[in-house]
Structures are given as C-alpha cells and as structure tokens.
C-alpha cells in the first residue's frame, strides 16, 4: 500500500433536525467545529487551515473570512470548496494537499446548514434556469428520475432493485439514534408503496432534507501520531467534474465517480473488493446503484443482483452506509456528503458502538454533487 497523504484526526457531527428556529448557520458551524477540534485534542489556535462551503446561510461572499472571524481563527490557508455533495470529500484531499505544500498544519473542514420553515427559492441565473426550468424541470428529483429511467431501460433494473437500497439504509439507521429515521424502518414494500414523485422515483428513495452540521480536522500523518485519537489515513483520492445539467451528462448510466474511484484505488494501491466499509453518497437510490457499478463491484446493470447477494448491515461482508446513509440519517444539505466521511472515521477507529463492523481496515467514501456531475472519492485506512 502506498504512503498516506494525511490523516483525519478529529470529527464532529450535529444531530440532524427537521427545522431550526432562529438558529443561524454560523452558530451551527461554531458548534460542530468545536466538537471536531475537541475530538482531535487540539487547541483552537492550532487550526491554521480552513475549508468551508459556498453561500453559508446569510453569507454569500467572503465566506472563509466570515467563518474564520466568527471562530477566532487566523488561518494561513482558507478557501471555499463548492462541489455540492462532493464538497466534504473534496475538502479532505485539498486539506492534505495544502499541508503537503507547506501552507498549513491542521485544517478544519466544516459544513453546516440551518433549515427554516420557508426556504428562499434558488436565485439561479444559469443555463439550467434558462433551459430546463421553463419546461417543467425544477429541482434534483426530476434529474435523478431521468437517470433512473435510463438505467431501467438500458439494463432492465427494476423498481424493487432500487427499493433494496432505501430499505437497507433505513435498516442501518435503526442502529443510529441520531438518524432522522431512527425508530422508523421501511422495508422494500413500504418504499414501493410510497408516493410516486417523478416516475420512476418514489418518495422514500429521496433523502429527507434536514438541518445539521459535520466537521473533520485533517493534519499530517507525522503530527497525527501524537494526538489523542487513532488517526485515519487518507490513502488515495480522485475527483472529476463533467457537467451541471442532466441534459449535458456524457452518460446517464455511469458517472464521473467511475474515474474518481479508479484514481483513488490506484493512488492507494487498493481494489474495490478489498474495502471493509462502503460509505457511498446516497442522495437517491439510483446514485448508490450507479456507484456500485462504477466501482467495479459488479458488472454494469447488475447492482440489483449484487445487493441481493450481500448483507449490507454492519454484520455483513459488505457493510454499506452503516450510519443509515443520507437516506436514513437525513441530508443536512452540503454536510450530507460529510456524514459518509465521519461514519468511515468512526468505523476505522473502532468507535461505532453497536454498529461497529468486524474488520475495519479500509473504507471507500464517495461524494457526488449536482446530477451525477461532481464526483470525489476517498480511500481511507485505519492507522
């Protein structure tokens, strides 16, 4: 295996909630950042790198400076990572790269969002707004429905195949008291019986939007050795961005994660079938289906049979999204992608409690943004 590029040494997570009344995103960023830095056992002043998301709540511009000031930090590297659901994974390798480049030593990567009863409509003035919205295609549901329909037509995959993914996520969420669907399992029949939103996509195949926050602290492997928690090493990473609107997607049945994962495996000297945990971005069931196929875990079109053949729980040989995934945990906007990183760190540290997987040496984490457009993959390893 190749040399680690950096280490995740601290994690923080806020319990998701449907609505926040009066809470600002900056306040939530402060809460979750504190948790991650405490977990790392670092003094706040030791944080000299800061990676944040775009358009944080009330702050559309100067986001890193606003957050640095709010947290009392004076970073020597500060930036926005704007890759939708791939932002969290995109932050981790950028943090390691910035440390390697000598710009900083300990990077806080943080994403959070509040959620009010009435959300403002998107202020988009871009090609999607001009060429998709006037025809009745607003929002991500329709875009992912188009991907799902194409997969079904090309490979004969069935509604039941996709429902397996949502049911598995709900089952895993029953071991995560923080998950929004804790205490609310849903089997395949329930998923298929849920309302059709945009055919062939059912309601329970779509993440529940929630408020929440996630943070990780990244430092060098050398520095990580002296910190309080077992480090989780970044062994490989890959990224690819291909389009924004679904009409411009180079393929409807395979995405940029294919290339991103291949690079992450190549950098880390690992293979998909060696992963002890699959922490795969799951905004919709189709996203997991495509990722399983693009990872090479099964042939294109064969994800349904693969799911049927594997136990996806923490007890199985192919644990998938043991925190419940976003389909079971809830999607705290851009922070949703970071839940897959935080859970992988818990598992690789052996801190996952009653949902701890057996062998926990390697984890694949994926992030996906827009319509299977922005992709980042990480291979993480226990120290």
């Amino acid at each position: 295996m190749s040399r680690a590029k950096g280490a995740i040494v601290g994690i923080g997570e806020l319990k998701p909630q449907r609505l926040t009344s009066g809470l600002t995103t900056l306040e939530m960023i402060a809460e979750v950042s504190r948790l991650a830095v405490l977990d790392a056992g670092l003094e706040p002043a030791a944080i000299d790198g800061l990676l944040v998301g775009p358009q944080v709540g009330e702050t559309p511009q100067h986001v890193p400076a606003t957050i640095a000031e709010y947290l009392g930090l004076a970073p020597t590297m500060a930036n926005v990572v704007d890759l939708g659901g791939a932002s969290g994974a995109g932050m981790v390798w950028r943090a390691a790269a910035a440390i390697e480049a000598g710009m900083c030593d300990a990077v806080l990567c943080v994403l959070a969002n509040n959620r009010e009863e009435v959300a403002p409509r998107s202020p988009n003035r871009n090609p999607i707004r001009e060429f998709d919205v006037p025809f009745g295609a607003s929002g991500a549901n329709i875009s992912y429905a188009l991907l799902m329909q194409a997969h079904m037509a090309e490979y004969g995959s069935t509604a039941r195949d996709f429902a397996l993914i949502a049911a598995a996520a709900r089952a895993n969420a029953q071991l995560n008291p923080d998950a929004i669907f804790y205490g609310k399992p849903a089997d395949v029949e329930a998923v298929l019986a849920s309302p059709m939103i945009a055919s062939p996509l059912h309601l329970l195949e779509i993440v529940m939007p929630v408020a929440g926050g996630e943070a990780v602290v990244v430092t060098s492997t050398e520095r990580a050795r002296s910190l309080r928690k077992p480090p989780v090493h970044l062994l490989g990473a890959g990224e690819k961005v291909t389009h924004r609107a679904v009409s411009q997607a180079p393929s409807l049945t395979s995405g940029p994660l294919k290339s991103a994962m291949a690079r992450a495996f190549q950098q880390s000297g690992t293979r998909a079938d060696e992963m002890d945990l699959l922490s795969l971005y799951d905004c919709y069931t189709i996203m997991v289906a495509t990722t399983i196929e693009d990872a090479g875990l099964c042939a294109p079109g064969a994800f349904g049979a693969w799911l049927n053949d594997h136990d996806l729980s923490h007890k199985g040989a192919k644990p998938l999204n043991t925190h419940g995934g976003q389909l079971g945990f809830g999607q705290p906007d851009l922070a949703g992608g970071m839940t897959h990183i935080v859970e992988a760190v818990r598992q690789l540290r052996g801190e996952a409690g009653e949902r701890q997987i057996g062998k926990a040496g390697l984890a694949l984490v994926t992030g996906n943004g827009a319509t299977m457009s922005e992709a980042t993959a990480l291979v993480l390893g226990a120290a």
Partner: protein, 146 residues
C-alpha cells in the same frame, strides 16, 4: 379534460442577448441551435464559444426538429408550484438529430412513451410563451439508438 398549459403561472426563460435568437425562433415555432464552423458540431445550449473546440465561429441554423427520447419522467410532484395544475406531466431528454441533447416538455402521444421513441418538434404555448416542446411520432423509426 387536459388543462391549457398556456394558463400556467410557470417560470419563463432568463433570456440573455446571446440566447435571444433561440427564444425568438421558439416564439416563431422554430428550433434554432448553434453550429460550429470550425469543428462542424452542433451545440446546445447557446454559448459564445464552442464547448468542443473553443472556436468562436458559431452560426445559428434551424434544426430539423427530429429527435429521440433518451430518458423521461412523469412528474407527479413538480419542483415549482406553477406546474402543480399540470401534474402529472412528462419531461424528457431529447437527443436532437443534429447531435446535442436538450431537456423538453413531452406532449402525450397515442400510447405511453418509451425511451427510444422518435420525437418531433411541437411548439407549444406554456405559461404565456411558445416553447419548443416535442411529441412522439407514430411510426417508430428503424434507427438504432445511438
């Protein structure tokens, strides 16, 4: 009784000086798209440079209006409230005969649509503006999907 799509209170296009020829043609019931004189490819949506070769030698040409349904969705819960009275309705990805793909509104044919259906341009007044919608054509052409 299907509703009159023209009465919908939907969001119209956010037209720019560059994209105006596309929307002006749409109002006339035509579909016009840019072609690159450098690499010979047709492009969608309109841009100041060709996304394939970055040439600025782009010219507008009327498209044939023929296309193939690459994917579709019957929308039951629209993302924009203006579309609620029309639900369920169908949107689809239309692979134009000229090459590029655009998203459009798919009018009902005589039978349920399927991926691979051949489509024809069917200018339709939606929300107070004529848009380049498409309709499945009866005889499914022999052409293999690309």
């Amino acid at each position: 009784m299907p509703i009159d799509l023209n009465t919908l209170k939907t969001a119209g296009p956010t037209i720019t000086a560059l994209t105006r020829p596309f929307w002006d043609a749409a109002t006339d019931g035509r579909l016009t798209i840019q072609h690159c004189e450098e690499c010979g490819r047709a492009i969608f949506y309109p841009r100041p440079i060709c996304p394939h070769c970055w040439s600025k030698r782009l010219v507008w040409k009327d498209a044939s209006g023929r296309g193939r349904l690459k994917s579709f969705s019957e929308v039951h819960k629209p993302g924009h409230p203006g579309w609620l009275p029309a639900a369920p309705y169908v949107v689809g990805l239309v692979e134009l005969a000229e090459g590029p793909t655009m998203l459009s509104f798919i009018l009902p044919g005589t039978r349920p649509q399927q991926i691979g259906d051949m489509l024809l341009l069917a200018p339709t007044a939606i929300g107070g503006r004529v848009l380049p919608a498409f309709i499945p054509v009866e005889s499914r052409a022999e052409e293999k999907p690309q």
